[in-house]
Structures are given as C-alpha cells and as structure tokens.
C-alpha cells in the first residue's frame, strides 16, 4: 500500500489488479476488487475502474478502440527505453512471453527508462482522457507521441496495465466479467444475479456498476436499439455419430471429423453426456450473426440512437419503423446493410393487411405447413396477440439471426457476403450483385415482453408466428431422436452448402453472453494440404527454448506469378507430440539458415501435412490466401519439398469450397420462406 491508498488514482487500481493477479482463489479476487470499488467516492471513478478492468480502454458497447497496434506499442517502448527493438526488446519478450510484462520490467530496470519517468499519480479520468487522445491521434508517429507523453508520468506497473487495456477485453489476470459482476454486487450489497441481468440489458458494465451503487438496478429495463449480448454455442466435443447407445451402427464419420477426430473415441451425442432427444437441430448458416431491432422510430424509443441524417439507405424511416442491426461484437452495422433494413421494414409494412384476419386462423394455419405433418396448436402469449392488433409503427421486436447473400431462395457462399462486409455505404451495383437478407432463428423481445426468459420451444413458436405474419424467413428446425438423425441432417446441411448443424436444447432460455452446452455446433472439417516449414519460432511457456511455432509454405516454384520457391500460407502452433517436437527441433538445426531473434529461417526440408478449418482470401499476404486454424496432422518425413501442394491447389480447394452450395430441394430447404415476394 502506498500513501495514495485513498485516492482514486490509476496507480491504486493497478495495485488492486496486481493483488488480484497474485491471488488464486476467485472468492478472494472478488472480495479484493469489491473492497477497492467500495472505497471509491466518485461515480465516474467507479464506472471507469470497472470498465478498464472488464472491457479495456473503451466500453465494449461503444465499439471504439485506441487503435494502437502491438508493434507500435513495442517500438515506442523500445525507443522510450533507449534500446534496440530487434537486438534487445525481442529476446526479452521471448523470455517473458508477454509484451506488457516485458515493457514493465524494462521501464523499471533500465536506468535510462526510469530517469525519463516521473509518476504523476494520474487519475482514472486522466487515463480515460489519454485513451481518447490515442484514439484521436492518426498515424504511428502521433500515437507514439501520446504514448510517450503518458508513460513519462506513469509507474512501470501502470504502464503494464495501461498497455493491456489498449487491446480491449480481458486483462488476462484471471479476473473476467463473470467474476467482476459478483464483485460489483458484493461492493454495493446487491444481488449478483440481478447485476448479471442488468449487465445483459444495458450491455455496459460501467453503467451496471453505477446502477448497483445507486440501488437502482430495478430501473434498468431492456431498451430497444441497445444490443443484448449474444448467446454462444460450444463446439461438440466428440463427433455426433457412430454411437453404440443408439444401436444405429452407421459408421459414418462426418461428425467424427467435425472436431478433427482427436481420437477420443467415436463419440455420439450421448457420448458427450448429451441426450439427442433434449435437442432440436438447425443447419448452421455460413453468414454473419446479427441481432435485429425493429420498432418505432428510434427517436421515440430511445433518444440515444438517433441518426441526424437519415439518408434513403439508412435504417430509419422517420415516424415509421426503425431498424438497427448489431454484429456479434455488438457494433451497429445498419449502414452497411440498407437492403436488410429495407427487408425488415417491409416485413412490418405487410402486417396491416393481415390485421383483419382473426388471430386464431393465422396461428393454426401457418406453422403447420412448415414442419412435416406436425400441427402446432399454440396457446398464444399475449405479446403475439398484441402483434396482430397493433399498428405496425408501434411493433417492437428483437430477433437473433444470420445475414446471408440470398439468391433464388438459396444461401450463397460466404465469400459473396464477404464482399459486402465492412462496406459502409454500399452502392447500387454492389447491392444488386450481392443482395443480403436476414434469416431469423430466435426471438428475444416482443412488444415489451422479455421472451428471452422463455424456454426455446416457446420462443420458437412465437418466432414462427412472427415470421408467418411478417413473411420474414427463418431457419428450419428439425426434431432429432438419435445420433443417426444428427448424422443425416449434418450431411444434408453440407449438401446445402451450410457449415454444419446447430443443436439447441429445447428447454434452454436465451443465455445471453454465455457459451454453455445449451447450444452445440457440429462443424465439418476443413481440409488438408502438404506444406513445407519455412520458419521456426521459439515457443513460449512450457515449450520455452524450443521451436514450437511454424510458418508453413506452399509451393510456387512453377508459378509464373512468383520468383520464390515457397511462400507463407499460415502459421501452425500445435498438433504434434513432444517426441515429434524433439525430432523436429533436431532437424531444424540442420536446416537453419539465418536467425532473427526468436525466429529461424530454414531451408525447405520438412514437409507437414496440415489441416485447417477454412481457406480465406487475404489480399495482404503474398499468397493472397490464408488458412484458418492450421494445425499439424502429421509430419511427413517420407515426403520431400518437391512433393508438396502448390498455390494452384489452394486456389482449387478454395473455389471448390466456395461452390459447395448444392441444389437445395425446396421442400427441405434449410430456410423457411413464408411468403414469396419478401425477397
């Protein structure tokens, strides 16, 4: 403890975080941080302290970042300390395995660096201000100036945490949001479950802390146009097929391959401790996860989200229906998808024509046609009855779903959607070439009702009603009774060109912001390629001192576009045994040509069969493609570099995957279209 123990300085927060980091018990971590929060006197400090610890320099909801790269930070630190980046900084970082810890130690230990710093005991708001200036600075030079200016007034420990906060998200001190929320509850003597719920509703941990402190948690309500954290799926631990339990005996391995067949045995859903009958299945679309908020003009609902200049392509129609789309990281992406906003507004506009229809008719007729002979007779929630009687301009709905390029009722390959992603105001031509639509698969809120708390099967009925009446497409849901069903549906999903299956637990509520076993994803494996090791990188942690990370090269020796023999295609970190790693390291020594810090360049000599999840176009790389999640399948001591695959092979694979979408039989299309003409 320093004499600053009672001032809301950043140093004091860092001291607390250090104590938290050095504590193993999560109960003690929580009580340490709660004690710190309790001692703060100012609202602004409470909200900043919580935000810095849980979310980083900027709140997650703001979608803002300081936009300072790791390399800029490291180069600035090296310069600040008066050391050479390559000769001194990099070996040190290799030893610690952490850039922020390396910088802290150099700032502390090197007399030149210590002499340049005079701690000014900055307040939390000084830091917030510093982060603002960093975000506003443009270019490496300006950012370096701001960083240097801040560091000159900070302790080494403050610098370390400040750097960690720049990368947004967890500080990696074993103290995540799920522990910070109970700490807030403990600090202000309120119910932890309520804190968790308010965090979900507001999406801001800083604001949550303030409501907890003021005893006003109850006042927090779901608000339209304010995104709710998404419910996330866990990967299925073993393949879904081949189970003895179902007596099915089908030796198919689509599912076994789905997680790379780790050799854990041909598991099935039962094998993962999961009963297939507790789940329903939907095909997993290869699109962009999106939360759609549809309701009266946002200006009327929430003063916070109002577009000062609603252009023709914006999500808003003044005085009418307003639409907001949020990406998985809760960023507002509405401006990128005016066609989707249009689709959703149009769906609302359809409602008045149905207004005259008695509710019970629409309820019993539509859903029945959607699923194989199974008639639903649903007792409707009040929300749904409201739906049909309300004016379209007053309807409020929040849907979870997927954005996909849809053409002729079929989902087009992800690569086409990619052409639209990140394009802020797409032109007419792009909109016409790659039309994007929203496919719903969950309903979270409806006309003020928190549908989110209902079990899936109830939400699903409401969703089907909503889609039936508005004409919005939604995912087709399948009953499953056995692992064999999963296997069949999985294959069908692949035939449709989809990624795989989502298994959703029938009785689960919408577990916002969590990754539990209530949703399971079954994905198809990527592919494999024979590559050559071009560079070896010294590993970290347990593998420190050995070369354990490898840059893999693809052959271009007969490719007229390149002068090289091999060019990098990806970097693999694992998939080998300790024994293999030893052998690899011996061979690497013989092939070593040059050393750059922790990296060795090698003569081509080691061939690795690498498997990956996907191939992605990446114009910034020499190859133009990168492999997603490459890992070793086997080291091919039997192959020589001349036997490896070529860039042309990669391109062929990519095209094949892109064309994967087969001819979907409309009767079992993964998407339910309720009304021709909404597309």
């Amino acid at each position: 403890m320093t004499d600053k123990a009672h001032s809301p300085s950043f140093a004091r927060l860092c001291e607390t975080l250090t104590d938290v980091m050095h504590t193993r018990s999560s109960t003690r971590k929580i009580s340490l941080f709660a004690g710190y929060l309790k001692g703060l006197e100012d609202d602004r400090d409470v909200s900043l302290a919580v935000q810095f610890t849980a979310e980083g320099a900027f709140s997650t909801l703001s979608g803002r970042r300081a936009a300072v790269g790791h390399r800029t930070v490291a180069l600035t630190a090296a310069k600040f300390c008066g050391i050479d980046y390559d000769v001194v900084f990099r070996p040190c970082r290799t030893a610690t395995g952490s850039a922020s810890e390396t910088i802290e130690k150099l700032m502390q230990n090197l007399p030149e660096a210590a002499a340049r710093r005079e701690p000014a005991w900055l307040g939390l708001d000084d830091l917030a201000d510093g982060f603002e200036r960093l975000a506003a600075a443009s270019g490496r030079e300006q950012k370096q100036q701001v960083l240097t200016g801040l560091w000159e007034r900070m302790t080494a420990r403050e610098i370390r945490f400040m750097i960690r906060m720049l990368s947004q998200g967890s500080l990696r001190i074993g103290f995540e949001v799920r522990s910070i929320l109970p700490a807030i509850a403990l600090a202000f003597g309120v119910d932890a479950e309520q804190v968790r719920r308010v965090h979900m509703l507001t999406g801001e941990i800083g604001k949550t802390a303030l409501l907890a402190r003021a005893g006003e948690l109850h006042s927090a309500r779901f608000r339209m146009f304010q995104p709710v954290a998404f419910m996330l799926a866990s990967p299925m631990e073993t393949g879904p097929v081949g189970g003895a339990e179902t007596g099915d005996g089908d030796g198919g391995s689509a599912g076994a391959g789905a997680e790379g067949d780790s050799g854990a045995g041909a598991g099935n859903v039962g094998g993962s401790g999961v009963d297939p009958r507790a789940y329903v299945a939907e095909e997993k679309f290869d699109g962009m996860r999106t939360q759609a908020h549809i309701g009266p003009d946002s200006g009327q609902v929430s003063g916070q989200v109002s577009d000062p200049d609603p252009g023709p392509d914006s999500g808003q129609v003044s005085g009418q229906v307003s639409v907001r789309l949020f990406s998985r990281d809760l960023n507002d992406v509405t401006v990128s998808f005016p066609d989707v906003a249009g689709q959703l507004r149009e769906a609302m506009a359809i409602l008045p024509s149905k207004k005259s229809r008695p509710p019970d008719v629409s309820v019993s007729a539509q859903p029945g046609t959607l699923q194989s002979g199974k008639q639903n007779s649903v007792t409707l929630q009040s929300g749904l009855q409201n739906l049909v009687t309300r004016q379209p301009g007053t309807i409020e709905a929040v849907l979870d779903g997927e954005l996909c390029v849809l053409e002729d009722g079929r989902i087009q390959p992800f690569q086409r959607l990619q052409k639209r992603m990140g394009v802020k105001k797409p032109g007419r031509k792009l909109l016409a070439e790659h039309p994007v639509r929203f496919i719903a698969y969950d309903l979270l809120f409806l006309n003020g009702e928190e549908v989110i708390d209902l079990p899936l099967h109830k939400r699903r009925r409401l969703l089907e009603e909503f889609c039936a009446q508005t004409g919005l497409p939604c995912s087709r849901q399948h009953e499953i009774a056995s692992a064999a069903d999963i296997e069949r549906l999985f294959r069908q999903a692949l035939e449709h060109g989809n990624e795989g299956l989502m298994l959703k637990r029938r009785d689960s509520t919408y577990e916002y912001g969590q990754r539990n076993k209530s949703w399971l994803k079954v994905k198809q494996p990527g592919g494999s390629l024979d590559t050559v090791i071009m560079y070896a990188h010294a590993g970290s942690g347990r593998r420190g001192g050995t070369y354990s990370d490898f840059t893999l090269g693809i052959r271009v020796d007969e490719d007229e576009r390149y002068e090289e023999q091999f060019i990098p295609i990806g970097k693999a970190y694992g998939g080998y045994t300790d024994e293999e790693l030893k052998k690899l390291n011996r061979r690497i020594k013989e092939l070593a040509v040059e050393r750059f810090g922790p990296t060795l360049s090698l003569r081509p000599g080691i061939v690795v069969e690498v498997e990956f999840d996907d191939i992605q176009v990446n114009r910034r790389t020499k190859a133009g493609y990168t492999l997603r999640l490459p890992r070793f399948r086997s080291i091919r001591w039997d192959l020589s570099p001349a036997d490896t695959d070529t860039l042309a092979d990669v391109e062929r694979l990519y095209r094949k995957r892109a064309e994967r979408s087969g001819d979907a039989d409309p009767s079992n299309s993964p998407v339910l279209f309720h009304k021709a003409g909404t597309l």
């Binding site: 040190c92 395995g97 952490s98 130690k105 150099l106 050995t546 390291n585 020594k589 050393r595």
Partner: protein
C-alpha cells in the same frame, strides 16, 4: 536447450572455442598488452571446460587432468562418482553427502595450489619470478551462489583466467560470500543464466521478508505453507530466512535435503528449528520441498495448503502464474543482468565468455557497446553428451 547459430567447428565431443585473436581487444586502451600465446579453452559440454596448456579440467570429468569442482549442484559435479577432484571444504562435504566417493582434495578459499601444467611449453613467463615455467597456480574465491561455491582463478604463462561457475553478488547470506581476485583477470568465463535486462533482483532482505510473511501469514490462517525450491542451496537459504521469524516457526524439509542441511549447520549457517518431513507432525509447520513434489500425494493431499514458488524464474509473472502457486518469490542464486555487467566492468578482462545462457545475445550486445571483447561459450549440453 538448443543453442543457435549452429557452428561447424564441432568435431567429436570436443569444441574448440576460438581464442581471442590478437589485436582484436577493442576499447579498453591501456589494457591491450599482448600475450603471445593466448589461452586455449575447450568447452566439453557435459564434461566441463578443459584448459589444455594448463592441463586443468573445470566442473567436468573424462579427461586425465586435475579437476576443480566449483560447487555441488548436479550439473557441475562429475558424473563419475569415483573421480578424484579438488574443491572447497564445504563443496567437498556436500559432494560426499550427495554420494561422491572419490578422493576430494580440499582447498580453502584464498589458498593457492601450484600444479605442473601440461609441461609442453618452454618458457615464456616474464612476469613472476617465483613461478616455475609451465606451472599453473590455482586459487578458489567464494562465489556467493550456495554454500561452498567457488570461482576458480587460474594463473598460467598465457595469462590468468577466472571461471565463475554459478555465482551471485551480492552473495547469498547462506554462503561464504563473494570475492573477486585482486590480481588482473585476463580472461573471464562467467555464467549468464539471467542475462536479460528484464531480470533485476530485489535485495535479499526484501525477499526474505516476503518468505517470512508468507510463512507466518499462512500459519496464522491455519494453512500449511509450502515453499517450493531446489533442495540444495535455495532450501537452506529459505530456512536461514525463516530462522529469524518472529514468532519462531518450525520447518520440515523433504527427503533429500536433510543431510545437506546438516552440512550447512556444520559450516555455521543458522537454519533455525527444523526436522525431516513427517506427515503426522506437519500441521502447524512450514514445509520445504522441491517443485517436482507438487503433484506428489505429499502435497496434493494436503487440504489446507498454501504454495510459494521460490526461484529467479518466479520473476516472470505471466509464465510463473501457470504453476498454480499462491505466491511467487523471485529469490535467485544467480546474478542478474546488471550484476553481470558490473562484474565485467570491475574486472575489465581482455576477453569474456558467457556461459549457461538461454540467450546470450543481449548481454553480448551491451558488453560490445561498452568496448568489451566477448563471446558466447555455447555449452550445447543436450547434444554432445
């Protein structure tokens, strides 16, 4: 450990490390007196360092030559337990306690031993009159690493060499201290285990306070404090720190450490109240054990335990946090980066070799910048066995 870049001078199990080339001693004007026959050094990996002209073997075995052992850690004593060696009295006692059965000639610190050398050279020594031509003089200086640890100072017709073995300055309070020779050191072989600027140790007293606080806090909370540390050197240093706890604490030490503790006490180091590990009587006492026992039933089954990891490596928080220790106490028995530079500055050798370093490049860079002639004595221990 793999050492890079790979050099191709390797032949057999013996590497001849380049001797300092004449006229290349940079900077250091005034100390560039040439020595006509530079000293040869052969790095023999596991088999130690051999000086052919002096016919001396340091920390090794397998060569028929007088062999000096700097200290009793396993990676410095001969693999052959019957080998006759020279060592400091405490090192001799510790080696015997660890099972060395060959004859050990005890050489007290500061006492010079004269040996015949290789006898292959004619005259050449113009400096000392009392030294017969071709003879070598060997003196041990305390290295501050563990009890008995010595630096070997060798004076030959080709110049003088100081081999530090493992060393620590300021010295461990549970050792004989640290002292450099007054005479000119022409060549220096110094250990560089922690030779990166991220390593800078806190004073012993600060770390000893942490050890004492950890033990007394755990005990007063009803937990059994377990200090994980190497059983020769670090264990006794920790016990020495605990000896001044107030109120006093009792310590139990895991198996192999007991005999070594008795040697420490024979040489006058206060280890406080201690006894060998006994499961029944452990509650209320402090346990000292090597980190290899972390997963053993001895520690695993203790319900109310609190674990501290005591090592120089504990200074790397991100790495060490994977150890699942409750406390990390970065007490090292090796010198840090800054202490290493200071030793070089004090001695101003004509050439310095760094050894035992995971990455010597940074320290070499700093030494070069200050005008020192230096290089890495790659030990390549894992590969030429």
């Amino acid at each position: 450990m793999i050492g890079f870049p790979v050099r191709h001078e390797m032949s057999g199990s013996c590497i001849t490390i380049g001797t300092p080339v004449k006229n290349t001693v940079t900077g250091q004007s005034g100390t560039t007196t040439q020595i006509s026959q530079p000293l040869q050094i052969k790095n023999m990996g596991y088999h130690g360092i051999y000086l052919p002209e002096a016919n001396l073997l340091l920390d090794g075995s397998g060569v028929d030559a007088p062999t000096f052992i700097t200290h009793a850690h396993a990676d410095h004593v001969p693999r052959n337990r019957h080998q006759p060696v020279f060592a400091s009295p405490a090192t001799a006692a510790l080696m015997r306690a660890r099972g060395h059965s060959g004859p050990i000639k005890e050489i007290p610190f500061g006492e010079t031993t004269s040996l015949p050398g290789s006898g292959t050279r004619e005259s050449g020594d113009k400096r000392s009159g009392d030294n017969k031509s071709g003879h070598v003089r060997v003196t041990l200086f305390p290295a501050g690493h563990i009890l008995g640890s010595a630096m070997v100072f060798v004076e030959t017709d080709q110049g003088s060499l100081l081999y530090t073995g493992d060393c620590r300055v300021p010295p461990s309070p549970a050792s004989e201290g640290f002292q450099l020779p007054d005479a000119q050191v022409d060549y220096l072989i110094i250990e560089a285990t922690f030779a990166l600027p991220i390593y800078k140790w806190q004073p012993h007293e600060t770390l000893f306070d942490q050890i004492r606080d950890f033990a007394t806090d755990s005990l007063s909370d009803g937990d059994t404090p377990i200090l994980l540390c190497y059983n020769l050197g670090k264990a006794q240093e920790v016990m020495h720190a605990l000896a001044s706890c107030d109120p006093p604490v009792s310590v139990q030490i895991h198996g192999g450490g007991e005999k070594l503790c008795r040697v420490y006490e024979d040489f006058g180091v206060d280890l406080g109240r201690w006894e060998p590990y006994n499961r029944e009587t452990l509650p209320g006492k402090v346990l000292i054990a090597p980190s290899s026992t972390l997963e053993s039933p001895m520690i695993r089954d203790l319900r109310t335990r609190r674990i501290a990891y005591v090592s120089g490596w504990a200074s790397l928080e991100v790495r060490a946090s994977q150890l699942l220790a409750d406390a990390l106490i970065p007490l090292s028995d090796h010198l840090d980066f800054f202490e290493l530079l200071d030793v070089c500055r004090t001695l101003k050798p004509r050439h310095t070799w760094l050894t035992h370093s995971p990455d010597p490049t940074v320290a070499l860079h700093y030494l070069h910048q200050e005008g020192f002639s230096c290089s890495s004595l790659e030990t390549e221990r894992a590969d030429d066995g």
